[in-house]
């Protein structure tokens, strides 16, 4: 299958956006997942609802809110532009931000579940063997969270590849800058002679999705084996 220049561009941009969005979600996702699994605090249900809202909202809603906040006239956008010369709107960095926000709940959910599955007595045993809470976290909790974190990362990456609504609302559909795979498919379906291009990109999307899920499965099995869990 020979891809044209714009198709390669969309593919590369999607991978770039996916990788950055995944990295952006990593630490906050693990932190929020751990917080939700282990701590009780004031307004926890409201905090959790807020974190998971991007999963149930129409993606255009966070997209529009991002535009209002991070746009050139938005409060945060103006501040970032004036102080750091950083702009999110209508460029690939905005696509990363939109993808990360939409996919963030997947990372939080995976991290939360992985913490909930850890037997707390393992951590207690480690603390009675002289490990400080900090050391227990890094030598027991984090390694045992690994399968969940891996699954979360791959889910975030896959979701980022498929992100459409928030991206097009926030950063538009600019070839070579913000036109990721789903946006390129959308554009192709609106071109008179775009059917072949759309089909090629659809095949690539299908392959990406399949291999991402396959990789997620293989890696999580390996990680489970590494931490000594048996799975049927």
């Amino acid at each position: 299958m020979n891809l044209t220049e714009p198709e390669w561009q969309a593919l590369a941009l999607s991978a770039q956006v996916g990788v950055w969005a995944t990295l952006l979600c990593l630490l906050p996702g693990i932190s929020c997942g751990w917080l939700l699994a282990r701590k009780d605090f004031f307004a926890k249900p409201a905090f959790e609802a807020l974190l998971f809202m991007p999963m149930v909202l129409p993606p255009t809603v966070p997209g529009y809110l991002l535009l209002v906040t991070f746009g050139s006239q938005g409060s945060v956008g103006k501040w970032l532009k004036n102080n750091f010369n950083v702009e999110f709107v209508f460029n690939w960095k905005g696509a990363v931000l939109a993808s990360a926000i939409i996919a963030f709940p997947l990372m939080v959910q995976a991290a939360k579940l992985s913490v909930q599955m850890i037997d707390r007595r393992l951590e207690q045993a480690a603390s009675t063997l002289g490990s400080s809470p900090f050391k227990v976290w890094f030598t027991v909790t984090l390694p045992l969270m690994l399968p969940g974190i891996l699954v979360g990362l791959i889910m975030v990456f896959s979701r980022s590849l498929g992100e459409f609504g928030a991206t097009i609302t926030f950063v538009g559909n600019i070839a070579g800058e913000t036109r990721t795979l789903p946006l390129a498919i959308y554009s192709a379906t609106h071109q008179v002679d775009g059917d072949a291009m759309a089909m090629r990109l659809i095949f690539i999307s299908l392959a990406f999705a399949f291999f991402a899920l396959l990789l997620s499965n293989i890696l999580s099995r390996r990680a489970e084996k590494w931490i000594g869990l048996n799975r049927a």
Partner: protein, 219 residues
Amino acid sequence: MLNLDFTFQRDNFCLHICTKIDAPITGISGPSGSGKSTLLAVIAGLLKPQCGHIALNNRTLLSQHSVDKTNAFIPPHKRKVGLVFQDGQLLPHLSVRNNLLYGYRNISEEQRHFSLREIVELFEIDHLLERKINTLSGGEKQRVALGRAVLYSPELLLLDEPISALDERLKHQILPFFLRIKSECKIPMIYVTHSPNEIEFLTDTRLIMNNGQLIANES
């Protein structure tokens, strides 16, 4: 010597203990829900009583008094009190060797009373060192858990029904190892069990608990 005088309250359950423990092996028995495991968790520092005083070998582990507002609490990782759970709680992502060395690496050379070699020979686990935890039998896991706890050179070893999950054959294999800890390692132990046989075989002093209180102290 362990001095206990504290009250721990959670929901409708109240654990109130006032006693001194200085036997090489002290057995604690009592019906389920009487507070045996809670007592061990309090001594280990995993639970914090609302008030009272706990001292181990004249070192204050807890001093919590509402009247004069004194407040001292030594966290579990600074207590030098080992705890072995019913199912060992070995770290599944580490090999047997690294489980054994987990606590050992947390203490200084001067604090180490035993070497890995000594412990491996004492508990007969040499052939298991490179194995993953999920490949061990129940008896092997408990021997590794005991070895790990002893290698940490604790001042006191708490054993929470350490062999109750094993079958009779394995129990008889493991029991002599506790006597070895007593005679060779000289670490005082508090041994929680439901089994009169284990109490009879191992312990020098027996405490009986019911409904959060000690109701008998037999030597």
